[in-house]
Symmetry: C2
Subunit: 425 residues, 2 copies
């Protein structure tokens, strides 16, 4: 067992990183001043992982879209009941989620931590699927997909991703399609499971009121050492250019909705994580509430308070998105592009840089206010091959030159697209 | 069966209101352009309903804090399993919530609507509690309460409500306390159930892709006619004055957090609902993103983007809350009070009134973009003895004089309080 204490002088915070003998990495952050604990057990498999092999496999396998999310649903089942029933006895509140590039199983509790962490480690490491139980899930997930189809926020986003990306699987709904999930069977689920749920590639994060020794005692008992295998996920061959500059759709909404995206140059996991925080500062400067652009558009009623921006980044993709409602989305698009070009020409205002760097720094610090935020930040940065304190130092220490370079190299009208939902008559 | 079509010329929308022979009111809003449906089955019992009787009871009963929420948890159970297991077979996504003044059971689905609505109507109308099943829930709800205690957003709010209110039960956590829930037993749950879950006082709302006849067919089969009884809930005798003007606490947060509240004069359900939308326009004028106050505080870094405001209103309570983070919460408090006094003196800017009325109108219209929003708005307004279109007309037609009167009669430093969470050293 290899144990390291990771600490931040800046924040006066610390956590323990342990490489357990089973191969599992644990990030443990006891915070006795809280009364609850929050645990996340994560695997680096998301909806984009559709073509992969282990070092031991001869050939790549391509699996149906949505399989990571399907696997998440099915893991909760075992031969004798489901994990939610077991959690009901400990009183923990449990859940799971699948994103584009990872899957996580989680619980929070105020009592019976030991019993709950035992359930978590046990059910995630004991898959049980039969053709029949797999088939049963199709109706449930099929409905989930159709319900998202009714959500205009979801549609306007995926229409944009389909416009920005030619091949990258981020363009497909995380849950897949009704057609793709019909192809999922127990064999494919086991193939995914055996590739991505190897303890050497997973992480267990716990934050809050708990004892490190409790976690180790349960892990020693439940986790069997796993052979360390390498995973090769096929990186999609994605051009710099967008798939199409514009996509429109009609839905029963009251006012036109838009998503505008700037496709950026993707790098390693670490580079994308670093560039994500730099871009977050940059878009706060360009289009944050206090920016001249925002105030001009807001005061002329071109945008309303639904306007927002975010950096959409993960393994093998990074883009910056602006979203909202407008009577004239094309005018918003033009205003944003024009402002980007102006700042590229005239340079970033140093006072705005200073203000926005502080705002983003505050946002990251705020995430660490509660146990859920601490655990999520630890997992997120681990999968990006960072530690969370490095990311926060990066924000504190970033320079105007770094942002200028991001702005000049990555933001252009040419590599952008707009998605609009018009009100149906 | 009494059937009325309620429609809005302004919105070109309609729904059907049915008084079913069982006594249940149904608000049914078919929207075939969606592929999913969303159903809400609501009872007018919330955490504030702690002292009540029916017309048939001799004496008022006072029940422990948190019983409405406890009842919500227990209703999911029946003699042969729980409702979630039944929903798992239809593939619907089900949930429930308890607020200060109501409880609702809900599901959304894209297929098997008939089977899912049958489960909903069946389990809510068939309570099953034994002393043993009731006792089992204490650990689960006790943990839920303790987990909320770790949440600084929750603490800063309830500290404020405790400062604003002397007797009104809104000052107590919706889930109660670990001590209060220890007093809950099966008899008390049945007493609550038999009082508040009478079909004559409940509402079923469905919006989205479904057939009205399906709902009626299932309701005819499952719902037994209920005797129409009156409910008397004891209105808490609440003074106009606040309990204490200031409450402070230390928690592990990065920056001081605040909630500032203005206690207003409560009226009937209909009056409070009407005043809520008027106040929403008013606080958008006073402290919305485009207001001079907001921009002054934001530009001087006194507030950050976490700043927000809301009207906290329901049966027998109405207050306006401002929340956020600040290095100097007292200065924010003073700035807000000073701005209120300035506008009381100088009058509301007509241009700001016009802009903010449109912004709030847009916010309400936006809620109707999706089936969840439509159903929630229908239920919410039904319990306020409004129909949702009247509320929207109210916003469209409101006048500057109405707002001026609200501002002058209800907003004063004297009837306000501040709650602050300081960072623990």
């Amino acid at each position: 067992m290899n144990k390291t204490v990771i600490s931040s002088d800046r924040l006066n915070e610390r956590y323990v990183k342990i490489k357990h003998k089973s191969g599992l990495t644990m990030l443990l952050c006891p915070k006795p001043q809280f009364s609850s604990a929050y645990a996340l057990f994560g695997a680096e498999i998301g909806s984009i992982d559709t073509t992969f092999k282990t070092g031991q496999d001869k050939d790549f396998v391509t699996v149906p879209a949505g399989i990571a999310h399907y696997l998440e649903h099915k893991l909760f089942e075992s031969e004798d009941g489901d994990a939610f029933e077991r959690y009901a006895k400990t009183g923990a509140s449990a859940n799971a989620f699948t994103s584009f590039d990872k899957t996580a199983y989680l619980f929070s509790c105020a009592d019976n931590f030991k019993e709950s962490i035992e359930i978590l480690l046990d059910f995630v490491t004991h898959p049980y699927f039969t053709e029949e139980t797999v088939r049963k899930e199709q109706g449930i997930i099929g409905q989930e997909i159709k319900m998202y189809d009714d959500n205009p926020d979801w549609r306007v986003l995926f229409n944009l991703l389909g416009a920005l990306y030619v091949n990258n699987p981020v363009r497909v709904d995380i849950a897949g399609t009704v057609e793709s999930i019909a192809e999922i069977d127990a064999d494919l689920l086991y193939r995914c499971y055996n590739t991505f749920y190897n303890l050497n590639n997973m992480v267990l994060v716990v934050a809050g009121n708990f004892e490190i020794d409790t976690v180790l005692e349960v892990a020693d008992r439940i986790l069997k050492p796993a052979q360390d295998v390498s995973i090769e996920a096929k990186v999609p061959d994605e051009p710099r250019t967008v798939n199409q500059p514009r996509v429109e759709m009609k839905l029963p909404v009251a006012m036109p909705m838009f998503n505008i995206g700037f496709k950026e140059i993707t790098g390693s996991k670490r580079e994308n994580a670093m560039n994500q925080v730099l871009d977050e500062i940059l878009i706060e400067i360009l289009a944050g509430e206090a920016s001249p652009l925002y105030r001009r558009m807001y005061d002329s009623a071109l945008i309303n308070s639904t306007f927002g921006s975010e950096v959409f980044a993960g393994r093998d993709y990074i883009a910056t998105l602006f979203s909202g409602e407008s009577r004239d989305p094309d005018k918003v698009y033009d205003e944003i592009c024009t402002e980007i070009e102006r700042v590229q020409r005239e340079g970033i205002d140093p006072a705005a840089f200073d203000r926005c760097r502080k705002a983003i720094y505050g946002r990251y610090i705020r995430m660490l206010n509660n146990v859920e935020g601490v655990a999520s930040a630890l997992m997120q940065s681990h999968f990006c091959e960072f530690n969370v304190y490095e990311l926060i130092d990066l924000i504190a220490d970033c320079t105007l030159n770094q942002l200028t370079k991001r702005l000049n190299d990555n933001f252009s009208r040419e590599h952008s697209a707009i998605s609009i939902i018009h009100p149906a008559e």
